[in-house]
Amino acid sequence: MGESKLDLLQGTLDLMVLQTLAAMGEMHGYGIARRIEQASGDEVLLNQGTIYASLVRLQQRGWIAAKWGTSENNRKAKFYSISRSGRKQLARDAAYWQRLTDVMGRMLAMGQDGGGQ
């Protein structure tokens, strides 16, 4: 019961991470987490720690790359950047999400009409 929900969140989070990196360029884990929180208008209650599972998964698939570097305030951190195949994947996933939300929107609108035609 908890598994299917986790799956959805997982996939969603992966997409959010890719999008963040695509939009913002190279970032470290904390930065990505904060950026997602801000972009979602704090509507997503994100356990920041879960982002690291997402990052390692994307990394292992070759969609993002990571290297240790130094932040502007001179702190050592691991910086992530999106790869070329990551961008392609992002385009595919974004299109998929767009279609899904469109369909969901229509479905739910139909429900408000009273369910009949």
């Binding site: 799956d7 997982q10 996939g11 969603t12 992966d14 997409l15 470290h28 884990g29 904390y30 930065g31 987490a33 904060r34 356990n47 920041q48 720690g49 879960t50 690291y52 599972a53 997402s54 390692v56 998964r57 990394q59 292992q60 698939r61 070759g62 969609w63 932040s71 305030n73 702190r75 050592k76 951190a77 691991k78 195949s85 994947q89 595919r92 996933d93 998929y96 999400w97």
Partner: protein, 901 residues
């Protein structure tokens, strides 16, 4: 979504990365730790910037992060192979559990090792003899060309030089045809390197032999047609084994010459270790050297001396080759000079796959052996199942507890399966060692006349088979108890404290069924072994026509060549003098009862010279009668072999100038003169010379102990040319004790006499029956193993049930039950189980017996003695296995039993 849209390459890359990550836990964990620490520092910094106190900033950072431990664990699971980690946990837990119960572990591993080891060893034998292709290039193209089985021995399975040439030129199915000289005996080569001549065995092959088989010498070259010409310088190819043994693996041996049979013979090459002539073509004989066969003489017309081995052209089917050979057989001549011999081979030239010629007759025995060993594995598994069930019953609370604490049913089954796999794995490793020992031992049993046995080894296929049966066994004995355990009711298991409650009783029923199965399987094995044993004893009782006890044979070297002897008469005379001298001297040795010479010993090689028929009749009257096997013997041979004779033996007066005399076998005499004695009758080959039958001797099992062969005819050495000479000595003392004095006498007469082996005639018989003994011994060993395992199973179940009923027995004894009564009850429980097993087993055994009927000799499949014996044995062993727990039950102290629990 990401998960769905991933590409194949992405998933492969991901998998590879995960495997990599699995093996690099440490650095990755450190990396993650550093990253998480940095994350928290960033968060704390930002929080302080936003005006929080240091403490509050840290608290908030941790809250927003979520559980640090959980996040790290999630990352670890995502990046690695979590199921491998679980497996690791299961393995560690299993090893801990098994270490805690060393008794159970040792018994289980030993049982499995025996079962699996026996299986690997037998698989190796089956693989070598039946499954693996012969050790030649494209061996499936090779065919053995011979007539359908006949009673006239090797002579009918061989062909003449003219027939060979004609066959080669009149067939189109074969790339080429080769062969070897079928009539050379053992120790036919004597190597002199200073000192005593050393005996060795060589085989003459047609020059293209190695090309046809696809064997390249490891060193030097193979024969060419030039090596086989008359007058060509003598050359020899050494086998790898002889080269190592006799020539200390001299790397520069090619080109060196040695004195072999008195001729300087050049070594032209060494054969690869993988080539073992004896293993393939004459099981049980070690061939040391290969020499080229001079097909075209002189003398060219030695008769049927060549076996045929052909290599089919690619794409030619066996049926095509058969038709082709059949057509050729109609025009093939024994000797082109005698046109009446053309067509002699009609329909007697039939190719069969070389593999089936070599091992085909063993197929059924091997299948039986394989089944027997499979049954052993089944019994072992049943036994293990029983042990596991007993353990599972004891552990049911542990499992219930784990399950109550949240372990899924799958996880518990997986845990149990891991345990059985670990046990099976350990059993396989030990079994593999066991098999290695058995296989190594078998490969060195040169005396067993089974083909290819010396090439036996554990190969990749055997290892694969090991893995397969290990997993199969683990499933068999692990899954059933596992499912039973996991399927059990949690509540009940927690409540079930043992005696008399539901779950325990159900287990006991399962265990009883297992024991019945075990007893039935053991019964089948024992019946099979019993029948084979009876057959073997019957074979040993066969009247061979000679007395193998207290007789021995040694190969006699003699030189009967006379320079300038054109007609052969001079050398005939010389031979007579040598033989007479040898026999007179040998007979004078104290302890020697009789002595004589023969060119071919029984149960070895043989030959035929066509059919002589009674004078006054015509050949046409006996068209379909096979000729007798021919033996050229000295006076006294018949007596030395202990063969009964009516009429007279040959004497030294039966010389070249006197009338031709022969001895014939009983059944031959009976065929020609059914109602009168054959002694004094005359036989003819159709020519001018008559053969006077001076004596009739018992039929001798010449080819095979188990089948009566064709007839025999004996010619005196003084009238017919022998093909070498075996001196047979009958002694009043054990033959071995006379070996030195006999050899001494022979060397006195002929300093060149090689140090040949002094072979007891009994050993010839033993060699001939060795395949049957081999299979019988193996099946018997498996049956004993099966019986032991079954006894162990019975003991286990009864003993366990006594333990469980301790309290009950205690109460009953307190209420007045006597020791005898308690004991009787336990024993009757045993007998009930065993009786059921025996009934099932006997029924199944009748089926087994019918299946192996063709392997039996002089024994009916429903042999009552065997069945009664097996049932008695099983019952006795079962009683013993039940008696021990019964005695324990009767000694239960009621007070102690009631106080416990």
């Amino acid at each position: 979504m990401t998960g769905k849209a991933k590409t194949t390459s992405g998933s492969w890359q991901s998998f590879a990365n995960r495997v990599w990550a699995f093996f690099h836990k440490k650095p990755l964990d450190l990396d993650l730790d550093a990253e998480v620490a940095a994350h928290l520092e960033f968060a704390v910094e930002e929080n302080i910037r936003n005006g929080m106190s240091a403490e509050e900033a840290r608290r908030q950072a941790l809250v927003r992060f979520g559980g640090v431990v959980q996040a790290k664990e999630l990352q670890r699971q995502t990046r690695g192979l979590p199921w491998m980690d679980v497996l690791g946990q299961d393995l560690r837990y299993t090893l801990r559990t098994l270490r805690r119960e060393p008794g159970f572990t040792i018994v289980a591993v030993l049982i499995l090792a025996l079962g699996i080891g026996a299986n690997i060893a037998v698989f190796s034998v089956v693989n070598t003899l039946l499954l693996r292709p012969l050790p030649f290039t494209n061996s499936e193209q090779l065919v053995w060309i011979a007539p359908p089985p006949t009673k006239c021995g090797l002579s009918c399975a061989t062909y003449s030089t003219d027939a060979y040439d004609q066959f080669r030129s009149h067939t189109r199915s074969f790339q080429d045809v080769t062969g070897y000289f079928a009539f050379s005996g053992t120790d036919n080569l004597s190597l002199t390197r200073g000192g005593q001549p050393i005996p060795a065995t060589s085989i003459d092959v047609i020059a293209n032999f190695f090309q046809v088989l696809g064997i390249r010498p490891a060193m030097g070259r193979a024969f060419t047609a030039d090596d086989a010409h008359d007058g060509a310088p003598p050359v020899v190819l050494l086998t790898d084994a002889w080269w190592r043994r006799q020539f200390a693996a001299d790397p520069a041996i090619v080109g060196k010459a040695f004195d072999m049979n008195g001729k300087q013979t050049t070594v032209i090459g060494v054969l690869p270790a993988s080539f073992d002539f004896g293993a393939v073509f004459s099981p049980g004989v070690k061939v040391d050297a290969i020499t080229p066969l001079d097909l075209y003489g002189p003398p060219r017309d030695e008769g049927n001396i060549i076996t045929f081995i052909g290599r089919l052209k690619p794409g030619v089917t066996l049926a095509q080759a058969r038709d082709d050979s059949k057509a050729a057989s109609h025009i093939m001549c024994w000797n082109l000079k005698y046109p009446q011999t053309c067509g002699d081979y009609k329909d007697a030239v039939v190719p069969v796959p070389l593999k089936s010629y070599i091992a085909g007759s063993l197929r059924r025995s091997l299948v039986v052996l394989w089944s027997a060993v499979g049954m052993i594995l089944l019994i072992a598994c049943v036994n293990l199942s029983n042990l596991m069930l007993a353990r599972a019953a004891a552990r049911s609370k542990e499992f219930a507890m784990r399950s109550a604490l949240g372990a899924s049913r799958g996880r518990i089954v997986r845990q149990l399966l891991t345990e059985s796999l670990v046990l099976a794995g350990a059993g396989s490793v030990l079994g593999l060692f066991l098999a290695l020992i058995i296989v190594r031992w078998l490969a060195h049993q040169g005396a067993i006349a089974l083909p290819l046995l010396s090439t036996l080894h554990i190969d990749g296929a055997a290892l694969g088979w090991t893995a397969l049966i290990a997993i199969f066994a683990a499933m068999l004995f692990g899954l059933a108890p596992g499912l039973k355990m996991a399927g059990g009711n949690l509540q009940e298991a927690l409540k079930d404290s043992g005696p008399g409650s539901g779950q325990g009783r159900k287990h006991e029923r399962t265990r009883s069924v297992l024991v019945v199965t075990e007893v039935a399987l053991a019964c089948m094995l024992l019946v099979g072994a019993g029948l084979l044993l009876r057959s073997f004893l019957k074979v040993l009782e066969v009247d061979l026509g000679f007395q193998p006890d207290r007789a021995a044979a040694v190969k006699l070297d003699y030189d009967d060549s006379v320079p300038g002897d054109k007609t052969g008469e001079l050398s005939e005379e010389k031979r007579r003098v040598i033989f007479q001298q040898v026999l007179t001297r040998v007979r004078s040795i104290p302890g020697v009862d009789a002595a004589g010479m023969v060119d071919y010993l029984p149960l070895g090689q043989n030959r035929a010279w066509g059919l002589p028929f009674p004078k006054g009749k015509t050949r046409d009257q006996f068209k379909n009668v096979a000729g007798p096997l021919v033996y050229v013997v000295s006076p006294g041979y018949i007596r030395a072999m202990g063969t009964r004779l009516s009429g007279r033996d040959f004497t030294w007066d039966d010389g070249p100038k006197s009338q031709s005399v022969v001895l014939i076998s009983q059944s031959m005499a009976h065929f020609f003169w059914p109602n009168e004695s054959g002694v004094g009758k005359e036989l003819t080959h159709g020519g001018s010379e008559d053969l006077h039958v001076v004596g009739v001797v018992d039929d001798v099992r010449e080819v095979n102990v188990e089948d009566s062969t064709g007839w025999q005819i004996y010619y005196p050495m003084t009238q017919a040319g022998p093909n070498g000479a075996e001196l047979v000595v009958r002694t009043t003392l054990p033959p071995a004790s006379l070996a030195t004095s006999v050899m001494g006498k022979l060397r006195e007469l002929n300093p060149k006499q090689t140090a040949s082996e002094f072979r007891p005639i009994k050993a010839l018989v033993s060699h001939a029956v060795s395949p049957r003994r081999f299979f019988m011994m193996l099946v018997a060993a498996f049956a004993v193993l099966g019986l032991l395992l079954a006894a162990l199973g019975i003991y286990g179940v009864i003993s366990y049930s006594v333990t469980r009923k301790t309290q009950e027995i205690g109460i009953r004894m307190a209420l007045g039950a006597t020791r005898g009564k308690v004991q009787a009850e336990v024993i009757s429980q045993t007998l009930r189980l065993v009786a059921t097993g025996i009934v099932v087993g006997v029924v199944a055994s009748s089926g087994v017996a019918a299946l192996i009927a063709s392997l039996l000799f002089g024994t009916r499949p429903a042999d009552p003695a065997t069945f009664v014996g097996v049932v008695t044995l099983l019952a006795a062993v079962a009683l013993l296995a039940g008696y021990l727990p019964a005695r324990r039950a009767s000694r239960i102290n009621p007070m102690v039993a009631l106080r416990n629990n």
